[in-house]
Symmetry: C2
Subunit: 122 residues, 2 copies
Amino acid sequence: MARAATTSDAFNAVAEPRRREILNYLALQERSVGEIVATLEMEQPSVSKHLRVLLDVGLVNVRREGRRMMYRVNAEAIRPLHEWTSTFERFWQHQLNRVKEHAERKSSSWQGAIPAARQDKF
Amino acid sequence: MARAATTSDAFNAVAEPRRREILNYLALQERSVGEIVATLEMEQPSVSKHLRVLLDVGLVNVRREGRRMMYRVNAEAIRPLHEWTSTFERFWQHQLNRVKEHAERKSSSWQGAIPAARQDKF
DNA sequence: ACAATACATTCCTATATGGGAATATGTCAA
DNA sequence: TTGACATATTCCCATATAGGAATGTATTGT
């Protein structure tokens, strides 16, 4: 089996950077396809295709206004992502607390973050 | 160009449901590959491959303990996702506020949510 | 009706999977 | 060293893109 369809859920849909850009832009206010194309400097067919994906997973809604299609974000659909990430919030708060306690106890220099990536092979 | 690599960033990595399951499981505590395999009922090679992806984007860290590899989540790497979704938080709060105000003003029946998906073609 | 405007869809292609099977690698125990 | 145990990696393949080019469709103005 290959990777899941981008239209399978919001997680897959926002995995694409261009689609996040579009959502960020739409976060400000409702926009037409043409405005998105002009502002984000993407090809029109590309924008239409990304919007189609976002529409399929419910991340945006549309409304026709004459010849233009006005898109707006449907924040509700982003909420599951927010809630999933929130389940890990306590961890970085713990880490912050530990850093804070450490700083308060020792009041000395902080060595910076531990590199997060690959630590095997050694 | 095809879709971006799952190892390109955390957004792509967590787009896969199995990987989110693994992260959820690891959120409870550090676990060995074998424990993940047994608990989530996935094939061992599959788990190893998913862990590799998670490791590449820094979503987990590893530590060898004898013959076992102990994995744990690196919540810091999830933080960017949390923060991105947070930029839309005000929207659903607005919606909730509007619902609340509406309910307070009219104190009548609420028709339920507007379907989020496809509303074109009609 | 017809041209222009604004989008959407289709076709084609290189690329990146994710799962299953088989195999390789690393570590410990006897 | 040898065997067993725990993981990781490689191969193969069906599938799902994302971008570019070309084309189809809907709506408005004259």
